[in-house]
């Protein structure tokens, strides 16, 4: 791996060496390193590009790293990664994609991740997207995440895209069984003329299932964002969705939360707030000795944390 690839690996997965546990590192469209463990098997798909990650039932305290690195200009890829998480497991999955594009061709990663989370299993899924490079070619990222939670399954997803992605369509769909629980925290920052579209749909099908989707975004310069979050309450369930955005400069942010209750026992709430940084927040931090610019950076980094 060259120094650029190593730097990207650090940005998206906090990795400076090969991780402990199962991993698959994909660099410029090819598998660069892979490790399966006794409980976690990673297999190349035969019918299309991508891998299957098969986690045995009752696997606890194990992790899987599957970072993707693109440093070749003009490379576009479509990858299918399917996760089969066995019953009663408790695992952490760290994905992430970084693009370094210093050429003139557009580089794009389209990743379709499907999770089949077995009964009473627990998953923490961390996904970080990052772009860099001085080339005129765009850095494009279109992640699709499909989540199937069986009865009693729990998933916590943390998705962040803080810098360097020119255009993104983030699509997340979830289907929840009885007593299933889904928690999603997304943070996005756009600058320049970047555009980010994020669409969430959660079907709350099972009895006593619940979901909480929180998106925090910062839109700077002339960038644009559109956040849609749709909850369908089909049973005794509870759902909450929140979109909170800081808007700056000449940016534009559209938030469209949607709720549909198909049961009298569904309890659904949405919140959306868009606004600039409050003047009193800046003043408070300035009275602690920060300059206005430092205060602004502090507020944004705290907000997106």
């Amino acid at each position: 791996m060259d120094p650029i690839q190593k730097k990207i690996l650090h940005e998206v997965a906090d990795l400076d060496a090969l991780p402990v546990g199962a991993y698959n590192i994909r660099a410029n469209g090819k598998s660069a390193a892979r490790n399966s463990t006794a409980n976690i098997e990673i297999v190349t798909k035969e019918d299309k590009s991508g891998i299957d990650i098969i986690i045995k039932p009752n696997t606890v305290n194990e992790s899987v790293h599957i970072p993707v690195i693109i440093s070749e200009t003009g490379l576009t890829e479509l990858v299918y990664n399917d996760f089969y998480i066995g019953e009663n497991s408790d695992v952490v999955i760290i994905a992430g994609c970084g693009i370094h594009n210093c050429g003139n061709g557009d580089s794009a990663h389209n990743g379709i991740h499907t999770f089949y989370v077995g009964k009473n299993a627990k998953v923490k899924y961390v996904e970080k997207h990052y772009g860099e490079g001085e080339g005129r070619g765009k850095r494009l990222m279109n992640p699709t995440t499909v989540i199937h939670l069986e009865d009693g399954a729990k998933m916590e997803m943390q998705a962040s895209q803080i810098a360097g992605i020119d255009d993104t369509l983030r699509n997340t769909k979830a289907y929840l069984g009885n007593d299933a629980k889904l928690e999603i925290n997304e943070s996005v920052m756009t600058t320049g003329v970047q555009n980010a579209v994020s669409e969430f749909t959660a079907d709350l099908n099972g009895e006593n299932c619940s979901c909480n989707i929180v998106s925090r975004t910062v839109a700077k310069d002339s960038s644009t964002q559109h956040f849609t979050s749709r909850l369908n309450g089909n049973n005794v369930c509870s759902g909450h969705t929140e979109c909170d955005s800081i808007i700056m400069d000449k940016a534009s942010v559209l938030a469209t939360p949607e709720l549909q209750a198909n049961s009298t026992e569904a309890s659904l709430i949405h919140e959306a707030a868009i606004g600039k940084i409050a003047g009193e927040q800046l003043i408070k931090l300035m009275t602690l000795g920060l300059t206005e610019k430092q205060a602004e950076e502090q507020i944004i980094s705290g907000f997106l944390k």
Partner: protein, 229 residues
């Protein structure tokens, strides 16, 4: 030492402060007066949040009238807001660290929170958002000023919303602050118990200093006038 020379502040044709001349070199100075007398405006002018329409402000002999909020903070002025600001995402620890300095050990930050009557383990990692009550925010605000340990600390009605917390503890903090910094603490307050610890009291009325003298002289008159009302 803080000095104000002929400071006036007008907004929308209305005079809020009129020709204020003031020297503060005592450790505890309380500012009191009726609502709308200009107390908070005075504090904001000292902190640099508002610019006076005319007049000059000196800190230890240096003219700071044109200095920004940031520059004044770095020269040693701290200001506890009457209504503390909420931040989504920033935690108590973040704010305490910004106040105390990056190098301050975690344990010291915790001690400072305990000092204001907040069990640090329950608060240090919490976000300064709507989940905290007004009283909790107020105590965190005081802890931040305590952490800054600067030579001039301004408090705008620090006692509001913290009624359950013993006054003695609050007063103890002010005393500790003076002891550590050998500086000045200016407290805007209506509370007799706070006025009681002041070396001097400023009584503001209609934007002017109606009285400014040692506590022993002013406090009995103030209490008499309140009783008379």
């Amino acid at each position: 030492m803080l000095e104000l020379q002929n400071v006036s502040y007008e907004i929308d044709g209305k005079t809020i402060l009129k020709d204020i001349n003031l020297k503060i070199d005592d450790h505890f100075v309380a500012v009191t007066g009726p609502n709308g007398s200009g107390k908070s405006t005075l504090a904001k002018i000292i902190a640099g949040i508002l610019q006076p329409t005319s007049g000059k402000i000196f800190l230890d002999g240096e003219d700071i009238t044109e200095l920004s909020i940031t520059d004044r903070a770095n020269k040693g002025i701290s200001y506890a807001f009457q209504q503390p600001v909420r931040f989504k995402g920033l935690t108590v620890k973040d704010l305490m660290r910004l106040s105390a300095g990056k190098e301050t050990p975690y344990s010291t930050l915790c001690e400072m929170l305990n000092e204001v009557g907040l069990q640090s383990k329950n608060y240090i990692n919490r976000s300064l958002d709507a989940s905290l009550s007004g009283g909790e925010l107020k105590r965190i605000e005081i802890a931040m000023i305590f952490a800054r340990s600067s030579k001039l600390s301004l408090f705008d009605e620090p006692e509001a919303g913290i009624d359950l917390w013993s006054f003695q503890k609050l007063i103890g903090i002010f005393e500790k602050m003076v002891e550590q910094t050998k500086g000045n603490v200016i407290i805007i307050s209506h509370q007799e118990r706070i006025l009681n610890i002041a070396d001097k009291i400023i009584y503001l009325k209609d934007g002017t200093i109606a009285q400014y003298d040692v506590r022993e002289k002013i406090l009995p008159q103030l209490l008499d006038s309140i009783t008379a009302d």
